[in-house]
C-alpha cells in the first residue's frame, strides 16, 4: 500500500480556524499526522510592551473572543499583587460570575460546533440558541456580547445591582432544563456515541507526559484545575470551592461529557456568587497605579484549561508579557491521537480537543520596513503606518 499525504486546512470545512494538518494516510487510515501553525498570529504580547497596565489589560482581554475574561483574570492575578491595591470581595465575585458564564457560553458554543461536525445541524442550532441567552447576559452586565472587558486593575467598570443579578439568575433558570436535555442527547444519541466512543484516546499517562490541561486532561483522569488547586480571587471562598468534573475513559466522548457536566458546575458557582454579592454595595473607583520594577505570574482556569501569564513591569509599563494559552499546551497531542484513526474521524477528534487557534497564536514579531506589519501604536490606535 502506498502512503499518501492528505492535507486538511488551513481553510477547510471541518476547521473553524486556520490550522494545517498534514496526514500521512495508508488507505483511509492515518499513519502519521503533522500540524503546521502560524496562520492567525497577532501581536498581543509584543503590542502590550511599553503600555500602562490598564492599556495592556485592554489588549490582553482581546487575546480570545471566547475566554476574554479568563485572560483578564490571569493578567490581573499577575499584576494586582504588585500594585498593592486591596481588591474588594464584590469585584472578585463579579469577575467570577463573568468567568463562569464564559465557561457556560464556551461549552455551549463548542457543543454546537461539535454537533455541526457530525452533521447534526438541528442540535447545533439548539446549542447556539441556548448560548444566545448567555450573550444577552454579557450584554446586560458589561455592554458587550463578546469582548466583555469589564475589568480594570484593582476594580471593575460597573457594579452589579439587583436588576443585573436577577437577570443572570433568570437566564440561567431559563436555559438549565434545555441544557440538561442537550446533555442527554450527547450522552445517548447513537450517532454521537458510535463516532465519539473509543476514538481519539488519550491515556492518563499520555496526558501527564504531555502536560495537557483543562477538560482534555480531566477526561483522562488528570485532576488538575487551577480554580481548585491554586484558588484565586473568589474561588478561594469556601462557598465557591470548585468540584472538578473527572472521567477516566480519555476518548472524544469523555471530553464531551466533561464539558457538558462542567456547565452545571459553573451554573452552581454563578448562583452561589449571586447569593454572596451585596447588590447595594458600590465598588471602588479606578485608581492611579504606580509600579516601579516588578514581575508577576498569574494563572486562571479558562474553559479550555490553564492560562498562564508572565508579566514584567518597569516604571508602571509592560516590559515583557508572555501568555501560555491552553491550546498551546494541548496542541502537542494532536499528532499523537490522530495516528491509527480513520480519516473520517478527524473532524470529531479535532473538535473534541476544542482548539482555539487564534488564542494560541498570540505572538508576532513587529519588523520595520515591511508594509503589512503594524506597530504597537498603530494596533492600539487603529491607524495604519504610511
Amino acid at each position: 500500500m502506498h502512503e499518501r499525504i492528505f492535507p486538511v486546512g488551513p481553510q477547510h470545512p471541518a476547521l473553524k480556524e486556520p490550522l494545517f494538518l498534514k496526514l500521512h494516510v495508508d488507505g483511509s487510515y492515518i499513519a502519521k499526522a503533522e500540524f503546521n501553525l502560524g496562520y492567525a498570529h497577532r501581536g498581543v504580547e509584543k503590542c502590550a510592551e511599553g503600555y500602562l497596565l490598564d492599556s495592556a489589560l485592554h489588549a490582553v482581554q482581546r487575546t480570545c473572543g471566547i475566554c476574554s475574561q479568563c485572560h483578564s483574570m490571569a493578567f490581573l492575578n499577575a499584576v494586582e499583587p504588585m500594585t498593592k491595591v486591596k481588591v474588594a470581595d464584590k469585584v472578585y465575585l463579579q469577575r467570577l460570575i463573568i468567568a463562569e458564564l464564559e465557561r457556560i457560553h464556551s461549552h455551549l458554543l463548542w457543543g454546537g460546533v461539535m454537533a455541526h461536525e457530525i452533521g447534526l445541524e438541528t442540535l447545533f442550532m439548539y446549542y447556539w440558541r441556548e448560548r444566545e441567552n448567555i450573550l444577552d447576559v454579557f450584554d446586560e452586565l458589561t455592554g458587550n456580547r463578546v469582548h466583555h472587558s469589564p475589568d480594570l486593575v484593582g476594580t471593575m467598570k460597573r457594579s452589579f445591582g439587583k436588576k443585573e443579578l436577577d437577570m443572570v439568575l433568570e437566564k440561567l433558570g431559563a436555559i438549565e432544563h434545555e441544557v440538561r436535555e442537550l446533555r442527554e442527547v450527547m450522552r445517548t444519541h447513537n450517532v454521537i456515541t458510535s463516532r465519539f466512543k473509543k476514538h481519539g484516546n488519550i491515556t492518563n499517562k499520555m496526558a501527564r507526559q504531555l502536560g495537557l490541561v483543562g477538560p482534555v486532561a480531566r477526561a483522562s483522569g488528570v485532576n488538575y484545575d487551577v480554580r481548585r488547586h491554586a484558588p484565586y480571587m473568589a474561588y478561594g471562598m469556601k462557598e465557591l470551592k470548585v468540584r472538578p468534573v473527572l472521567r477516566t475513559e480519555g476518548d472524544s466522548w469523555a471530553r464531551t461529557m466533561v464539558r457538558c457536566d462542567e456547565i452545571f458546575e459553573s451554573m452552581r458557582l454563578v448562583r452561589k456568587a449571586c447569593e454572596l454579592i451585596d447588590p447595594n454595595e458600590d465598588i471602588p473607583k479606578k485608581q492611579n497605579i504606580s509600579v516601579g520594577e516588578a514581575f508577576g505570574l498569574g494563572r486562571s482556569e479558562a474553559p479550555r484549561g490553564e492560562n498562564f501569564h508572565f508579566v514584567r513591569v518597569e516604571n508602571s509599563r509592560i516590559a515583557r508579557l508572555k501568555l501560555r494559552t491552553p491550546t498551546l499546551a494541548n496542541v502537542i497531542a494532536y499528532s499523537r491521537i490522530m495516528e491509527g484513526e480513520d480519516i473520517t474521524d478527524v473532524p470529531v477528534i479535532l473538535m473534541s480537543l476544542d482548539p482555539c487557534i487564534s488564542c494560541m497564536e498570540r505572538v508576532a514579531v513587529i519588523r520595520k520596513g515591511r508594509q503589512e506589519i503594524w506597530t504597537s501604536h498603530e494596533l492600539f490606535e487603529g491607524k495604519k503606518h504610511d
Binding site: E306, V363, A364
Partner: protein, 99 residues
C-alpha cells in the same frame, strides 16, 4: 551548551507550564515555570544564555517543552540541543509569505 536538565529534574515537578525568554543586550534569560497537580505553588527556574550559546532541551523530562522551546528559538534565536522542532517555523510566516 548551557546544561539545565539535571537541575530541572531535581525540581520533581508534575508539569512544565511555560518557558519565557527575556532579552537584555546580547544575552537571553530563560525562565522555566513548573507546577504540581496537588500543590498551589509555581516554581521558577532561570538560566542565562549568552549570545551564540545553545541551551539543553528538556524534552526528555517534559515532552511539552518541544513547542515552548521552539517558540523561544523562533522569537529570540536561542537554539535548544536535542529538540527537533527547535529551528523549524512555528508561528512566523513562511519565507516570502504574509501570514
Amino acid at each position: 551548551m548551557i546544561r539545565v536538565a539535571d537541575s530541572i529534574r531535581k525540581i520533581k515537578a508534575d508539569r512544565l507550564i511555560s518557558i519565557t525568554s527575556i532579552k537584555k543586550g546580547e544575552e537571553n534569560t530563560l525562565y522555566y515555570h513548573f507546577s504540581w497537580d496537588k500543590k498551589p505553588e509555581i516554581k521558577e527556574f532561570s538560566v542565562k544564555v549568552p549570545k551564540g550559546e545553545e541551551a539543553e532541551s528538556i524534552i526528555g523530562i517534559f515532552e511539552n517543552a518541544a513547542l515552548l522551546e521552539a517558540e523561544v528559538t523562533e522569537l529570540f534565536g536561542v537554539k535548544f540541543k536535542g529538540n527537533e522542532y527547535s529551528g523549524k517555523r512555528l508561528f512566523q510566516a513562511e519565507k516570502g509569505g504574509t501570514a
